[in-house]
């Protein structure tokens, strides 16, 4: 995850043109454009293996779930093998999971749909609560089986029920949970592989997105031609030096 406190670090260090005034501790910029080598803030690549937020049971449920949202086919892996669950796990363990950048001051109250989500729970807390409720509901409905142990047809039945509101979760709105996990799964499928999903850029190759090239001047006039450049991600780009 990004080092979100880098700015504070910068503010307190001596920089060529960024100085800390003795009279006002603000960062003062004058005399030219400030710049300090080594102060860039590249993303940290997700390391594979293990779970940073999910419990083993939660991870099992999420892997099963994402593999039905985006099932494998002969050309392209499904949500599980492409890393969607790993992506979600790492996101929930970071600033996204903690709602770190969002306005989280109360009072909390339900508003209209147009006013947007108003939950006092962070994204990570929502997953914890909803995944437990999902397994409970599955055990009640399918003779003691948790979500991951259901057949593919049964899993799809549950997801369809969450979608249309007929499959209820105790203490959590099932439709909201489906929206949350579907959005995160799609993001994991299609985001840069540096974040743990889209393994081998398989989703980009599937749709025909050549990745993070930064120069298409040779291609702008080549209308209606399939771009033949190799697919690249941030960490496989020639400019990446970390």
């Amino acid at each position: 995850m990004h080092r979100l406190n880098r700015r504070q670090l910068l503010g307190s260090s001596a920089m060529a043109l960024l100085m800390s005034s003795p009279e006002a501790r603000a960062t003062i910029i004058k005399g030219g454009l400030p710049w300090k080598p080594g102060s860039a803030d590249p993303p940290t690549a997700v390391s594979p293996g293990g779970w940073h937020y999910f419990t083993p049971q939660e991870a099992k449920t999420v892997e099963a779930f994402v593999d039905r949202l985006i099932p494998p086919d002969p050309q392209t892996p499904g949500g599980k093998d492409i890393g969607c669950a790993v992506f979600i796990d790492r996101q929930l363990a970071g600033s996204y999971g903690r709602n770190e950048n969002l306005y989280m001051m109360g009072p909390f109250q339900r508003g209209t749909k147009q006013q947007g989500p108003q939950s006092p729970l962070t994204a990570a807390q929502q997953y914890r609560k909803a995944l437990a409720a999902l397994d409970d509901a599955c055990r009640n409905e399918y003779s003691g089986k948790s979500f991951a142990d259901l057949s593919d047809e049964q899993k799809d039945e549950v997801i369809t029920g969450l979608e249309n509101g007929s499959f209820k979760l105790d203490g959590f709105d099932g439709q909201s949970f489906l929206t949350l996990i579907l959005t995160d799964t799609r993001n994991g499928f299609l985001a840069d592989p540096i974040y743990g999903g889209n393994k081998d850029m398989a989703a980009w190759k599937m749709i025909g997105f050549p990745g993070t090239h930064y120069d298409y001047r040779d291609w702008i006039d080549r209308h209606n031609e399939r771009v033949t450049l190799p697919t690249v991600g941030i960490a496989s780009h020639p400019n990446w030096s970390k």
């Binding site: 960062t27 910029i29 209209t112 147009q114 006013q115 298409y216 209308h223 399939r226």
Partner: protein, 592 residues
């Protein structure tokens, strides 16, 4: 108690486009200027270098270059009968933060408004009669004309190096440009950008239907350019990671790439970052600003005295700071009295998605710039007869698709399930061969009596100051206009050869989770007298003459274009008045 610092000639609140322009103009005039910026310093090499600038998750979905709601939020409701709630995560609009402001990560669409946009009320009532306008519509003339601003549109375009094709050169209509634009004194500084396949096909189809397509004026430059300050920008490479992102290539016009390198060398100027201004201070008459109070990153409070105060923050926060500082009279929607918060507007965006035969069409949507595309202006402003249309206003229509970034390019044909094998197959089949363009119909949002800004009674910021409250909904006039424009755009997509076109006209109620644009306007509008405006025609406060308020808060209503060209022109216009009139004789530039 705030610590009192030595006085400055001028203090600037917010160092985005307008703050940078005003700072440069005033330091050139010899003033000692300090700018206070709430966010951090940002530069290309540190914050969005070419090795990782193209990160859609980080910059688009997680808004890393933007103001975070945790730092400052706003509240929203559709109407006064509802309780406003905080916009906990940004949706309908995105607010800038840090040096460069929104100018750092904008698309760089650099339009001029139409001459009649500046005289909206008098023009429309003259053409259609007083009764033609809805009773609660509060549009008015700006107090400034297109001719007044033309030299300053020119200043801004030549600062930026804007790439475009002139449509009206000193009154002569030019082939390939927008024939509806006001007369410009000289061509764009650089020729229009090249266009991709989808954009080109749109222009051909529009021509076949009898329209006059023109390239969108772009601050992503078609060639390298050295501006009048001596700062050089590079050629845009069509990377497809422009708006929401910083440009790693120095080819998007931003304060950083056009003005800051010169401004920061001026010994009369300094910027203090991560300093949040909490109020503008007034003397005991209430008619003169004595400076500002701000909080630095350590939490310590300072008073910065200054002879001149330039309010250059984002529109919402300009209005919030006026309200928090007790400057002017807050607007009361019941009586229509009071100026601060009145005539708040946004934009009315709509589109249609075109699905094409994947074996015949490959649009390579990822080859694009932030302001690429071809547009038509036949249905903008009052360029067509509204007599039978049943609404006023309009917008440009264009294939202005800026990217093929995967997380924003998941359109699938209607009837496709939201998940499962069919969804996956539809994504595979349509990514390269669909035309998805959120900004296709970029239309006006006129002002109404019940759309306004005030201070929220409940929700507070981290300094326990009230958040600004947005009360906003669409009115029938705008929804009718949106349906009309969307139909016109859909016809062009059909003409391009789409096998299926899905219209998405704007529908009410206004939804704060649904991105439109970040073009929020009004709330401290300009006009010709203090009974209809907060600012005079030079953006000078009627109430506090040593305070000038820059930016789109001054727009009496929003036109059918992106606002930054007009924001930049107004900044140069205001700066000229300060330099040539105010500094010689400080006081009101217009006598009420």
């Amino acid at each position: 108690m705030a610590r009192r610092l030595p006085g400055k000639d001028a203090v600037i609140i917010g160092l985005g486009w307008t703050g940078s322009i005003l700072a440069h103009e005033l330091t050139q005039a010899g003033l000692d200027v300090v700018a206070l910026e709430r966010g951090p310093w940002r530069d290309t090499a540190t914050d969005f270098p070419i090795s990782y600038a193209q990160d859609e998750l980080r910059y688009r979905l997680q808004h890393q270059l933007f103001l975070q709601p945790a730092q400052m939020c706003v509240t929203f409701r559709n109407n006064a009968s509802q309780t406003a709630l905080p916009v906990r995560n940004w949706g309908a609009f995105m607010l800038g933060n840090g040096v460069g402001g929104g100018g750092l990560h904008w698309n760089a669409e650099t339009f001029r408004f139409l001459p009649t946009d500046f005289t909206a009320r008098s023009h429309l009532t003259q053409r259609y009669g007083e009764k033609f306008l809805p009773e609660d519509m509060t549009i008015q003339d700006w107090g400034v004309t297109h001719d007044d601003l033309e030299p300053h549109y020119d200043d801004f375009e030549y600062l930026c190096g804007t790439s475009g094709t002139a449509g009206n050169l000193q009154g002569k209509i030019q082939d390939g440009g927008n024939p509806f634009e006001g007369a410009r004194s000289r061509p764009y500084p650089t020729p229009a950008q090249k266009q991709g396949y989808g954009h080109t096909l749109f222009a051909e189809a529009a021509k076949q239907l009898g329209y006059k397509p023109y390239p969108q004026p772009s601050g992503n430059l078609s060639q390298s350019y050295t501006n009048p300050l001596g700062v050089t920008l590079g050629q845009c490479t069509f990377c497809g990671f422009c708006e929401w992102f910083g440009c790693a290539n120095y080819s998007k016009a931003t304060p950083q790439t056009t003005i800051l390198p010169v401004l920061l060398r001026n010994p009369n100027f300094e910027a203090r970052t991560e300093c949040e201004v909490t109020r503008i201070n007034l003397d005991n008459t209430g008619k003169r600003a004595t400076g500002v109070t701000y909080v630095d990153p350590s939490g310590e409070e300072f008073e910065q005295p200054a002879d001149l105060v330039l309010l250059c923050a984002f529109q919402l926060f300009n209005v919030q700071l006026l309200l928090l500082s007790g400057i002017g009279t807050p607007y009361d929607p019941r009586t229509g009295k009071g100026q601060i918060g009145r005539n708040f507007t946004h934009q009315t965006m709509s589109t249609a998605v075109g699905f094409f035969d994947k074996d015949k069409y490959n649009f390579n949507p990822f080859i694009a710039s932030g302001a690429i595309g071809m547009c038509i202006d036949e249905f903008n402003g009052d360029n067509f007869d509204h007599g039978s249309a049943g609404f006023v206003g309009g917008g440009y229509i264009g294939q202005v698709r800026t990217n093929g970034r995967p997380l924003e390019s998941m359109a699938v044909p209607p009837g496709t399930p939201a998940w499962g094998a069919k969804w996956k197959q539809a994504l595979r089949d349509n990514y390269l061969s669909s035309v998805i363009c959120g900004g296709a119909c970029h239309a006006s949002f006129y002002s109404y009596r019940d759309v306004y800004l005030d201070l929220d009674p409940t929700y507070k910021d981290r300094f326990a100051r009230p958040l600004v409250r947005l009360t906003i909904d669409f009115h029938d006039n705008e929804l009718k206009m949106s349906a009309f424009l969307t139909d016109k755009y859909a016809e062009i997509l059909q003409q391009m050869g789409a096998k299926e076109v899905v219209k998405q006209p704007r529908k009410g109620p206004y939804d704060v989770t649904d991105y439109q644009t970040s073009h929020l306007c009004g709330g401290a509008i300009m006009g010709d007298n203090p009974d209809n405006s907060a600012l005079n025609r030079y953006l000078q406060s009627w109430d506090v003459p040593n305070l000038f308020v820059q930016g789109a808060a001054a727009f009496p209503q929003n036109a059918g274009y992106n606002p930054t060209g007009t924001v930049g022109a107004l900044a140069f216009w205001s700066a000229k008045a300060i330099r040539s009139q105010y500094l010689k004789n400080p006081g009101p530039l217009v006598h009420a």
